[in-house]
């Protein structure tokens, strides 16, 4: 099997895998990074979102061979329960999750958004998260969490 070189959360990683395997399965099964989730495998729901070069991408439809040596950031690259990233802290402060399965996508999409637009308007936030599905209906709290993470009044 070919060796694929990756840069994940600032670390160089080498995995033995076919290059057509979607990045999601490599992150989860080979690197045991559980942040990104499988939701649809069709880029429809956003649960698998990771950052590549700072852009939010859908790891479920991105072949691992296509991201070699590009910087990948997963949810684990932001913070831990011991030291939450400010976006994660905002989600906790707003209690902005229920089952939490979609939250990886919400936080990673927010990270990409805030890196480009540090003070987004409500409409910009809604548009940025348009492609991320939440079934528990935590939308209002998620919107507040993004606002809070951007340092704006909630």
């Amino acid at each position: 099997m070919p060796k694929i070189s990756l840069r994940v959360n600032g670390k160089a990683r080498v995995v033995d895998t076919e290059s057509d395997v979607p990045l999601l399965y490599v992150l989860r099964n080979d690197l045991e990074l559980n942040g990104p989730k499988f939701g649809c495998g069709m880029a429809q729901c956003g649960a698998c979102t990771v950052l590549m070069d700072g852009n939010a991408i859908r790891s479920c439809v991105t072949p691992v061979g296509a991201v070699q040596d590009k910087p990948i950031t997963t949810l684990e690259g932001l913070g831990t329960t011991q030291k939450l990233h400010k976006i994660q802290q905002a989600f906790v402060d707003e209690q902005a999750a229920q089952c939490g399965y979609c939250i990886n996508g919400m936080i990673m999409t927010t990270k990409a958004l805030l890196d480009k637009a540090p003070k987004p308007t409500d409409m910009e936030i809604k548009r940025a998260l348009d492609g991320n599905l939440c079934r528990c209906g935590t939308h209002i709290r998620i919107l507040r969490a993004v606002k809070r993470a951007s340092g704006q009044k909630v």
Partner: protein
Amino acid sequence: MKSLEITRRQFLKTTGALVVSFNLLSPARKAVAQFATLPSGDIDPTSLDSWLAITPDGLVTFYTSKVELGTGTITALAQIVAEELDVPFDKIKMDSGDTSRTIEQGSTVGSRTIERAGPQIRQAAAAARQELLKRAANQLNAPIEKLTVANGVVSVAGQGSKKISYGQLIGGKKFNTRITATGTGWDMKVAPEVKAKNPKDYKVVGKAVNRTDLPAKVTGEHDYIHNVRLPGMLHGRVVRPPVINTEPLEIDQDSVRGIPGVVMIVREGKFVGVVAKTEWAAIKAAQALKVTWTKPTSKVPATPDEMYKYLRSTKPVRSQKAIDKGDVAGSLSKSKKIYQASYRWPFQMHGMIGPSCSIADVKGDKATIWSGSQGPFRTRGTVASLLKIPEQNVRVIYHEASGSYGRMSTDDGAEDAALLSRAVGAPVRVQWSRHDEHGWEPKGPAQLDEAKAAVESDGRLLAWDFADYSQPWTASGSTPLLASRQLGLTPKNPGGSNGTQSGGEIYSVANQKIVAELINWHFPEPIPLRTSNLRAPGDVARCFASEGFLDEIAADLKIDALEIRLKNLTGNQRAIECLQAAAEKANWQKRPSPAPAGSGNIAQGRGIALTQRARTYVAAVAEVEVNNSTGEVAVKRIVCSHDCGLMINPDGVKNQVEGNIIQGVSRALYEEVTYDGNGVTSLDWGTYPILRFPDVPELEIVLINRPEMQPLGAGEGATIPPAAAIANAIFDAVGARLREGPFTAKRVLAAMQKKV
């Protein structure tokens, strides 16, 4: 890699110790385990040690078969434990959903966890406190009445130096105390002889606390079922037929030969699956495997029209009378004017964002299942039946799945994983594809509701006749699930009831009949449009129908929609207060519907609806905008009042109410399972859209707290009234009545054209 867990029992057997420490999956769950078992091997609820254990450093582990589904219920249960024991909230660890170390308290369904398991847990904790005080009295040589507890430390009133902690009293040791426990599941009565705290003294219960599960959920550290990895674990995928009542004629093994890592193609009965070394290989193999299926032996109604006709023209297998009082037929026949209307509601999905996932390790006649089941004991039973092994030989270990809203009452994935593991002789993880989850998850049944009423001119109801026609749950409780049916197991009955509430029973009417008719749904033949309990089962449709119908009457009589409701809520104080709270918050102005027509292309309207589920009252006011030329509906604001008795965690309740409303709005505006004669055609999020961020309405929640009442559930109620309130608001805006959901632009426009 995560290592296999060891049961309390096995560990005790191997160590011979009374008290053992063992590592669970995460350090946070480290605990001291002490328990007593019944002859069956199940945990004995009459032993206090079966409910909780306390370490020398005062950490309390409380065992429950109730599980966290994302609703925050485990946090609330932990508050109850902390309150009753007088232990800091952060010292409580809930160990949940493992059939080898918890007492069966019933599945986590039906908004009944706080209502039913809450008192069980409260009483067990109160019994522990009582026992601890007894021991402290001995140790401190002081009468029990003089003892007080704070932060897990017992002290003698007025003598600050005389104190002893729970850790010192019991830490690492067994209570060896008997309590009473009669009945089973959620009907179990635990230690009723023990006096629990007076709610007036509550310090933790009733206070908003942060949910214990959220920090790990926002960092990727949460222990979801999808993350369980076992040594030697293989990956499985099931190859589902186009319809269930077909069988594989031929499987072309060569079709997967080019895929490296395929370990086995499994066929048992009509069940076909693949097992591979990697997940991607399993996915590719399942897609590539060429299976020739027999032709389906029957069809389902191919269109909604055919489906509703089927519901109305088929003899019910069961009639459930929610209410039958007075003389409804007589009263209707005597009335000069009878109101009559019928309403239709489509099949809708649970739509878990993460599809079914389960891991099984079947060895000989024993099986361990890692599952996100809402009922671990239920899964234990269905897997045992499937594998034809004793129930006691199956251990189910719960890990949280994606939010499931009733879907994980039917743990299909566990059956799939069990069959594949047995075939291959290794632990197998199965995760469904999006296509399979949308296609094969059991749906909330379609419903046809017919209503008739006679009314006084002032709006008081004289007669109310309401009939709900829907399918029973073909997949529910202990009925054989998908894989079981593919192996030939047949259900023993047509399936569970789709509920009877929200048909207008909240109103006091002298002549009132509310019936839920269950229409046989391909029993015992399994078909693709399986049905099961979808959050607030049946209530969304019945509320849409009954509250829409009442609105139609009000409009005809030119009576305000709030007023007609208040007129018919005789003596039901909680209902009245709930309704008024929502109306007041929404600044409801008294006038009949529809609203006077405006001049622009966007019409505005407001609508109200009220319901009650499992004694929780919910009212909603919807404010909508309807585009006169396109029929497009925008829900601008939902104001919701919610009364679930005493609230344990008000912010947890609020989170649930918000989520329920959003899901309810989504179901009202967008959601309809499509099908043809062979099965489901909504197979992804493109063909089954749900609400997205740009369409989120503003929400205003009024939480009504009733400290004098027992706590009730908040997991479902607020899903119910949004659809009815929105339909009523659409009527208010444009004068067109929606009698079928969801309220798509096309449907609204058609209703508007019909009106003209």
